[in-house]
């Protein structure tokens, strides 16, 4: 059987969608992807998703499902809190969005306000078992994959959450993860 070695984000999601069965997709959750990897993501780990686009958080701190659309196409980036600290994650996110805004300013574009606005701390087991919260689940909704990158701890702690299918399966996954995560939204104040 092939392994996801070297895959992350868009390439990982495409490869997962090319697998024939959910069992094979689940097997990949137990694989490491690179020599920089600290190892597969375990069920009892916590991951954090930082939201740095204010459009995904509506009025009254309402989490919108659009925050999870990447599940189907690009993979939803999260960081493993067993492999880095929360402050490292937030610092990394602030540095990334700051660079983005400086780049826009240099190009003469208006400031789009991107900055870390909220975060979600999610338990990997809950994500992998989202389907058990519903009656007669047709199949698993998402997988959580080690997709470590070369670099500091926050990069080596990178993981992707990916939908187990396209179309209806991906939309169901988005709705379910939104339902699960909407009460976990934590606002991030200024640095």
């Amino acid at each position: 059987m092939t392994t996801p070695f070297g895959l992350e984000g868009k390439a990982l999601v495409a490869a997962l969608q090319g697998l024939a069965t959910d069992d094979e997709r689940a097997v990949w959750e137990r694989c490491s992807v690179s020599c920089h990897s600290p190892g597969p993501v375990h069920d009892d780990e916590m991951v954090v998703r930082v939201l740095d686009q204010p459009l995904h958080v509506g009025g009254d701190d309402m989490l919108k499902p659009s925050a999870f659309t990447d599940l189907e196409s690009l993979g939803m980036s999260v960081q493993r809190l067993a492999r880095c600290t929360l402050s490292e994650v937030l610092e990394h996110s602030r540095a990334r969005t700051s660079a983005h805004r400086h780049r826009r300013a240099a190009e003469g574009l208006a400031d789009d306000g991107r900055q870390p606005v909220a975060m979600l701390k999610l338990k990997v087991r809950d994500l992998r078992e989202l389907h058990t919260l519903h009656d007669k689940p047709p199949r698993r909704a998402v997988g959580v994959y080690d997709s470590a990158r070369e670099g500091p701890a926050v990069e080596a702690a990178h993981a992707d959450v990916a939908a187990f299918g396209k179309g209806a399966a991906a939309r169901r996954a988005r709705a379910w993860i939104h339902e699960y995560a909407k009460t976990a939204l934590e606002k991030i104040g200024p640095a």
Partner: protein, 194 residues
């Protein structure tokens, strides 16, 4: 008056309070789309005193209560319009800006919603989709318009019933499983229809 209607009107009132009175009432410019199927009017808003004649409907459309609801829909349309102003990379390296076609179709769908259906919440996705959704005690529905203008809809009720359709026209009345949709987004309306 139905609880959902009270909620809509309260929300609309709050929205209107921060908006200039001169803003164009988008939906008023399309009375045919607004009136929609007469069977959805106007009892579901609890406005029974106007009856169901054309004159009664016209009077109702001009009423302060209904105008406030329309303002809420205007806000949704205005946010949809704003999505085409995003820059490439607005939500990360690979993110795509919604096209005018996607936004136009989302707004056409919005216009096709029958009275009694509360305004959806607009959202925009990194894949360039302009979207609308409802999320409440009666279930969840999202409607997505890709940059190519393709429409799809996903919905789920608390009892496990679900729907997914793609390749749709942006017209509520043409949707399959309208009954289930109404039960989710406007349960009072669905009971009235039954």
């Amino acid at each position: 008056m139905a609880i959902e209607t009270v909620a809509v009107l309260t929300w609309a009132l709050a929205s209107a309070a921060v908006r200039p009175a001169t803003e164009v009432q988008l939906l008023r410019t399309s009375p045919a789309a607004f009136y929609g199927p007469r069977s959805y009017m106007p009892q579901t808003l609890g406005l029974t005193q106007w009856g169901s004649t054309a004159e009664g409907v016209d009077t109702m459309v001009q009423s302060p209560q209904v105008q406030l609801v329309l303002s809420a829909f205007d806000r949704v349309a205005a946010e949809l319009d704003s999505y085409v102003m995003l820059a490439p990379g607005w939500d990360g390296e690979h993110s795509v800006v919604p096209t005018r076609e996607a936004v136009a179709k989302a707004k056409a769908f919005l216009l096709s919603l029958p009275l009694g259906v509360p305004p959806p919440t607009p959202m925009v996705s990194s894949n360039g989709a302009a979207e609308l959704y409802w999320d409440g005690a009666a279930g969840y529905v999202d409607v997505s318009f890709t940059p190519d203008g393709d429409m799809s809809i996903y919905g789920q009720a608390p009892d496990g019933r679900a729907l997914y359709e793609e390749g749709l026209q942006p017209d509520f009345l043409q949707l399959p499983q309208r009954r289930l949709l109404l039960e989710i987004v406007a349960p009072q309306q669905a009971r009235y229809e039954a």
